[in-house]
Subunit: 514 residues, 2 copies
């Protein structure tokens, strides 16, 4: 066992994962590799890419035992393609697949059966919730799940650590030669940002569509030059499932108070200014913060250069009212976002790599002024857990949390001081997702704490009349109300490794007791 | 000496180029390599990409003797960046540079001085005309020039045969983090299609701009994730120079007759139908053919799915009138094309790789129904020369000629039977640019010849009442009028190798006598 840069105890080697590279700091690990180089291909003018069905695709590639198949999660809890493809794999008797899906939702419950039957033995994802996450926490997989950030997944693909044999792209619109977009057709999902690295670096790329268009489809989020097969199916997903989880502004008065305070912190930091840029996290208080920022911007007569994040109707509304000049969109969180990206040229689709890959010539999060993110736990070193819940079971993951925190000049955590009657502030989070050095402020309904690394910021907040407390005091306040929580006892067995965006290991998740 | 698949005599090895891979047929050479993998990079949020000037960029990279610098030619005869960059190299005393520029124009005459001074010792291009082309033909360079096709250049970059150390991108609009497009700013040039592979695969990428925009610039033809430095200069080029060479419909009655006949051939082949796709070559008769095709489409009430090629006002007009549903644009040939691509969402920018790289999962030329191209010579095997003129001097090159010919279902050569009082049809072209197997029909003002490989086509033309002659008869007709031309005597020394789009050698160009 070793300790990494934030004092998390991790083994030097994890069976089913390999040697551990220790997290040493947000920008301490430098890239030292070439970009992944997939095999070069050729198609003659008479070749067709249209294939009769998924089984035929499996035979033509051919999909073999042990391969890594990848999927994107833009349909969130409405995704139909992962289940369709794995049903095909099961039918054809394929075993031992590794599934690289950008996020896992309750709709993916059929994965459990495929895991039990040996069709699937590995999982690689940035976020998971629902039955699969619970089963993983209880040890259903023999290999640990690799949990990455959204930018880290793009990095792992681009740098060759996550080698994808076949990328299956749920394609709301596709032409017969593989040009794809997400903004047209009956099951439009908006941005296809998370699928773009998969298409660019996989050995084989399959477009799975329910809306076959005339050639040449435009705009093309993914180009014909990277797509090998086009398969038409009845339906690729249910757009209604996109609006799932915490993609709505909170109506809870406590959440609104936190959001209002967060907006005051951002103002006090001097960031409500012409050309501001910000990202909203998922979660009601985070979305509400954007609302209050918008109000302040209106009062001050300033406009933002861009906003980023899972995109909601609230940001679209700010764009339409001229408060935002651009939206950069890696993922839509509701159907208003889907409509907007298809019609407004200032609502721009970006890939996961452009959004947040730390290993390229500069991603968008580097240009963020501020981001406001949620937390299930935060410790007195400001390390944040958004991976495991109060019972130790996986219920999320970084997604873009660590990426935006690292990139933004000012990172706020907005969270209730108590969560389900347990203190949010801890001596030590159960799972470290985002390192404290990238978190600047904690805003709760009962007080604000500033990371001691940011004395400049604390001074600004005090000057603006905001009360800043020591994070230990916030912890004591919470414990006074709810008592000191009992530490969660886990087993020794590692069920997931948490990769920081640069590919080092920031923490591991251990199996929970039944 | 060896003979390649079309009987051209080439050596097995060329000094300064290396071993020769013989051309064996348009689709006979299959890719057998991985994609080029440039080094992975990283930028921290506080890094700036803005650099004070070109000299500072040279020092920061640093640019060294022997490197390959790349440039794009969207400004055609109005390009300012290549000359600016090479003046910087000369000033800093750098020697032995290899220049990879997608095309060379008369405006690039300062290259001659840099060659004489040893600053530049290698050249890699798809087309050249003017003083540099003449000097090359007279042996100014000790290493042979590598002449590629537009698709072949993308292939060579993507597959690692053309390794670019530094790509200098003339950027009509750029933000401070390297997002680039060609459609905005005072020197807009339209599509940046030829620069996209350079940006994607070069070790270092520099945006040279005279229009610095607010972040994030959109649309972005080239992404911030691939750009390392942004340099502002006074002016990057003269858009008036874009309209140069043969980018206007001919007014010559002979040319118009040829164009009219070509349109009749296309109609007889059954291609004036709903969803037609076509490419126009440069050259007056080729552009006029598009005009007649448009008329036939109007008469028949059909619309084309897309048109491709260097884009002119004639195609833009067809798009605006609804005769074309889409334009796919790798390069604008006039300012109307520049305006259109910036405003019409059905006028789509495509990269050189998407346009014509034979080694990917399928480029656009594969989807062409027909293309009509020019020729300086064509031989009785239908091999076409667009590289050298009647005196043996280089005055062009394939550009997209060989690419479109290989991709289209029906390739027409439209040419006067005599060119400068010399027969266009020869027993053997001086330089083979495009192989005869990819050429279906020759249309001249005095007759039509069909490639014997296409008996199906000859039958269709005869059924439509068009007179089809043997190409040898057309040759005899020409020789009766102008006599049998004397063969051009060249020296032995090779001044250029002509790479077919797949990287094999289709021919070499030898030094001319003074």
């Amino acid at each position: 066992m070793m300790q990494n840069g934030i004092g998390r105890t991790v083994p030097g080697y994890v069976e089913g994962y390999g040697d551990i590279r220790l997290f040493t700091g947000a920008f301490q690990t430098l890239p030292n590799m070439l970009r992944r180089a997939p095999a070069v291909k050729m198609r003659t003018p008479s070749d067709s890419k249209l294939v009769g069905g998924l089984e035929e695709v499996f035979r033509r590639i051919p999909v073999k035992d042990g391969m890594t198949l990848s999927f994107h999660h833009h349909f969130r809890n409405g995704d139909g393609v992962l289940n369709l493809v794995l049903a095909t794999a099961a039918k054809l008797g394929i075993k031992n697949l590794n599934i690289a899906v950008s996020s896992v939702f309750p709709v993916h419950a059929p994965l459990l059966e495929h895991i039990k039957n040996g069709v699937v033995t590995g999982l690689d994802t940035n976020y998971m919730s629902g039955p699969v996450a619970e089963a993983v926490s209880h040890g259903i997989l023999s290999r640990p799940v690799i949990m990455r950030t959204h930018g880290g997944r793009a990095r792992a693909i681009e740098c060759g650590q996550l080698k994808i044999d076949v990328a299956f792209i749920a394609a709301p619109a596709a032409d017969d030669y593989g040009n794809i977009n997400g903004t047209m057709g009956p099951t439009a999902c908006g941005s296809l940002g998370y699928a773009i690295p998969d298409a660019e670096y996989a050995d084989h790329v399959v477009a799975v569509t329910d809306y076959l268009c005339e050639y040449p489809l435009s705009p093309a989020s993914i180009s014909q030059t990277r797509v090998d097969y086009v398969v038409a199916v009845d339906v690729i997903g249910d757009p209604a499932g996109i609006v799932s989880g915490s993609t709505k502004v909170t109506k809870d008065p406590v959440g609104l108070k936190i959001a209002q305070t967060a907006a005051q912190v951002i103002k006090a930091a001097g960031l409500i200014k012409e050309g501001l840029s910000f990202q909203t996290g998922a979660g009601g208080a985070s979305l509400a913060t954007a609302h209050y920022i918008g109000k302040m911007m209106e009062q001050q007569g300033v406009t933002a250069s861009f906003a980023m994040g899972g995109i909601t109707s609230y940001l679209v509304d700010m764009l339409n009212r001229g408060l935002l000049r651009k939206i950069t969109d890696v993922q839509g969180f509701d159907l208003e976002a889907v409509r907007s990206i298809g019609t407004n040229p200032n609502h721009i689709e970006v890939s996961a790599g452009v959004y947040a890959n730390p290993f390229n010539s500069g991603c968008i999060v580097n240009k963020l002024d501020t981001v406001f993110l949620g937390a299930t736990e935060i410790d007195t070193d400001f390390n944040v857990n958004v991976t495991t819940g109060s019972n130790g079971v996986i219920m999320g993951g970084s997604g873009g949390h660590s990426d935006a925190a690292a990139g933004a000049k000012l990172t706020l955590i907005v969270a209730n001081l108590l969560r389900g009657r347990l203190p949010t502030v801890r001596d030590k989070v159960l799972t470290a997702t985002t390192p404290g050095e990238t978190v600047d402020v904690l805003v709760t309904e009962r007080g604000i704490a500033v990371n001691p690394l940011r004395t400049d910021l604390a001074e600004k907040l005090l000057a603006a009349g905001l009360l800043v407390e020591d994070i230990h005091d916030l912890k004591r306040k919470a414990e006074k109300m709810a008592g000191v929580p009992k530490p969660i006892k886990t087993r020794e067995r590692i069920v997931a490794v948490v990769e920081y965006r640069d590919g080092t290991i920031i923490d591991v998740v251990r199996q929970v007791n039944d």
